[in-house]
């Protein structure tokens, strides 16, 4: 491998020829990485490329099979996350790891509370230090508030405050922006920049390429567990980076086919759930992809849940193919040909400890049960069929879903619902947190489904995705539908204006 910088300051933290296997899976192969003080270093790669394993090795969670972790030029061996923390390495995981029952102050200082005589915790000092951290971050969170119920953005702020509290020299951020709104991302980047100027090294992971180009100076790319390149970002283009990540030129990211819209497949009229959304009416036709845009919390997911029957609605009507659906009955919605791919695949879309085959099979129990008994053969062939169609990458179809990468998990959720042969497909944030390669595949798939006559309602916070994929764009703002924009008129400006309530409804 090449050492990207031989002059200037020494790396504060480096990995040298790290390998790590889990059973037969080689997660990392001879990977090297150097982090210098005062740089924001991007770690790029598709899902399953080994980014998470690399982070966990730096964080002391995994111990490498071979190779060295080098801190300030000295090889170190972390016996656990505590060792890494004591060495000044802070990790902000994709899913914040807070203690919901404890206060924000306790969350930040757990294990390192300021002490009084006899080793007792100095609660006053803890409170004051937390307030000071909050001020430094420019947020107003009450240190005594329990962490339970904090928004993802605020949870991340607490995690960052934790890193600040022990003056971390290395900050590792695993997709910190995945669930944030634009202003929250701006706030986060402000903090990252300030840290960098204070001489910290930041390792930044994001699937949003423009973010990498916005705040990072160098980038290391991994592919299939192997090191591909470490280089300065200046002078690179997004296409260069994508090529490193996927190892080939990427097909078009938004392969939208033109389809003539057919009959009305889904009709939602005057749907209201008190305090959540009000008077929502729209139609989706066969072959159409309708985008549902809006800010996080505008009520889009809630509408989808009500349409599918998970939550009850208070007024209005939903019909599929002319037949009205029963309020609050997902089974009748499914029987009518409706399928919902939820936003949170880990919690709602998949049984994580169950095999790929059985997860896909879950929606087909009606057809694969004969005389009250499961026909395991039919389930397997049906599942295999869909897993292959969607190009899910797995070792064995009997492996549990939690062994798959995020993008492949999303494909399994899709397979599970596509196997029901839906007439109407609702997808909620179909590509959140998955890599560009898989993203393009999911888009291609949605496009093909629409071409086959499936009506698709796509909820997304990813504006380019909405603009690239949707035939029509519906926009929600504070529980109301504020605009319906045809593809030809949809631009970032028109959609954003409606999403923020600036446009006349």
């Amino acid at each position: 491998m090449t050492h990207p910088s031989t002059t200037g300051p020494a790396p504060v933290l480096a990995l040298r020829d790290i390998s790590k296997s889990f059973g037969a899976v080689r997660a990392l192969r001879d990977v090297s990485l150097e982090l210098f003080p005062g740089e924001v270093h991007a770690l790029a790669g598709e899902n399953g490329a080994g980014k998470s394993t690399l982070i966990k090795t730096l964080a002391g969670v995994h111990r490498p099979d071979s190779g060295q972790v080098v801190l300030d030029g000295e090889p170190v061996l972390f016996h656990g996350p505590g060792d890494a923390r004591d060495a000044g390495i802070a990790v902000i995981y994709q899913e914040p790891t807070l203690f919901p029952d404890l206060s924000i102050a306790e969350n930040i200082f757990m294990g390192r509370q300021p002490r009084r005589a006899l080793g007792r915790i100095d609660h006053k000092a803890t409170h004051a230090a937390t307030l000071a951290l909050m001020q430094r971050l420019g947020v107003e969170l009450d240190p005594d508030r329990p962490a339970r119920g904090l928004s993802i953005a605020d949870q991340q702020i607490v995690e960052i405050a934790k890193a600040l509290s022990f003056e971390a020299r290395v900050l590792i951020m695993d997709e910190p922006t995945a669930a944030l709104t634009g202003s929250e991302v701006a706030r986060l980047f402000g903090v990252v920049k300030a840290l960098r100027e204070q001489g910290a090294a930041v390792l930044f992971i994001s699937h949003r390429l423009e973010e990498i180009f916005r705040i990072c100076q160098r980038v290391t790319t991994l592919r299939d567990g192997a090191w591909i390149a470490s280089e300065t970002i200046e002078g690179m283009t997004e296409d260069d980076l994508v090529r490193r990540m996927v190892g080939r030129d990427l097909d078009e990211l938004y392969p939208k086919q033109d389809v003539r819209a057919g009959e009305v497949a889904l009709t939602v009229s005057r749907l209201t759930r008190e305090g959540v959304f009000t008077d929502v009416s729209f139609e989706v036709r066969q072959g159409e992809i309708v985008g549902l845009a809006g800010l996080v919390g505008a009520g889009r997911t809630e509408v989808a849940r009500a349409v599918f029957g998970i939550d009850r609605w208070d007024a209005g009507q939903v019909s599929v193919g002319g037949r009205s659906l029963v309020n609050g009955a997902p089974s009748t919605a499914m029987a009518a040909g409706l399928a919902l791919v939820p936003e949170d695949r880990r919690a709602q879309g998949l049984v994580m400890d169950m095999s790929i085959e059985r997860n896909i099979g879950l929606t087909g129990l009606r057809t694969t049960v004969k005389a009250g008994l499961m026909d395991r053969g039919a389930e397997r062939s049906r599942s295999l069929d869909w897993a292959v169609k969607l190009q899910v990458k797995y070792a064995r179809i009997a492996d549990t879903v939690n062994t798959l990468s995020g993008g492949n998990q999303q494909k399994v959720v899709l397979a599970k619902w596509l196997a029901t042969g839906p007439k109407v497909l609702i997808v909620d944030e179909p590509t959140r947190g998955i890599d560009v390669g898989t993203k393009a595949e999911v888009h291609r798939l949605l496009s093909e489904l629409a071409a086959d006559g499936v009506a698709i309602l796509m909820i997304s916070s990813d504006l380019p995705e909405i603009l690239g994929m949707a035939d029509r764009v519906l926009v929600m703002h504070e529980g109301r539908l504020t605009a319906e924009i045809p593809r030809s008129d949809a631009t970032e400006e028109t959609v954003m204006a409606a999403a923020t309530g600036r446009a006349a409804a």
Partner: protein, 346 residues
Amino acid sequence: MTVTTPQQAPPAEVPKAGATRLVDRVFKMRELAILLVFLVMIVITQIGNSDFLTEQGIKDLLLNATILVLVATGQSLVVITRNVDLSVGSTLGISAFAAGNYLQGGGNPVVAIGLAVLFGIGFGLLNGLLVSLGQVPALVVTLGTLYIIRGIDSIWVGSRQITAADLPDSFVNFGSGGISAVPYLALIALAVLIATAYYLKHFGSGRELYALGSNPEAARLAGIPVRKRILAAYTFCGGLAGLAGAMYLARFGNVDSGTGTGYELTVVSAVVVGGVVFTGGSGSVYGAALGALLLTSINSVLPALGVSSVWVLAINGILLILAIAVDRIVALRVALALKKRNARHA
């Protein structure tokens, strides 16, 4: 690029809003509510039967609660870490016998109490090791040790029985004596309770017990020595069960191979009624102690009111379910309040 909110000034208002205080209040209220129920129950009984709150009456109430308070205090620590110790009844029984057996041969009472505590610590360590190293659910492991310890107890004790007559007078007098209406045993339990509560609030390792019950994975990532803490919680719980065994001997002077059988369920009820959440991370030992006081008082209240004591168990059960229902409703309301507060700040 993603959907962005319009540029906005940083929130100007101070978010020291109602939500935080509400949450605070609710959790303080939880203990207050049990105290209130307890006091109302005592007042009603006193009105119905004026002989209830004599000096001896108060002393009996406190004595009855003492042993349960001790064991519940230990159990709380374990439950806070999202585990449970079902073997406390067996541990109490075997420790009581160990102390009695030693005293029968003319031993020193202080050494006897120490011996009982050591027995408890030993079995607590065993539980802690099995749970923290075995990665097996605590419910199953301690159900196993419940039977194992009871089995050892049965073999050792056989059909023997220790009675107050076999014990030194000083020990028996200590068990029933006290400062006016307050028994010595209750003072010991109170001291243990206060010390434990102080430890949980003011020491790092005490807070870590809450942390690892609240989110075990986060605790591991935060570098908390999870196994060590769980081991410590079980050892402490066992030690207190042992101490409670010695107190049982002093109070009743009567121990056989069945002593403490079924006690674990009373203990767990007291802990849960007292607001220690079974899924870990939340609750206080004061709550658990109040729960213990409430449950044992029912035993005295019903006969005083002329109600048959067959109702005791049913009422315990109702209290238990009531407590869980209240917790659930309160939790939902708090979640709603916090959510609304977030919505305002979004």
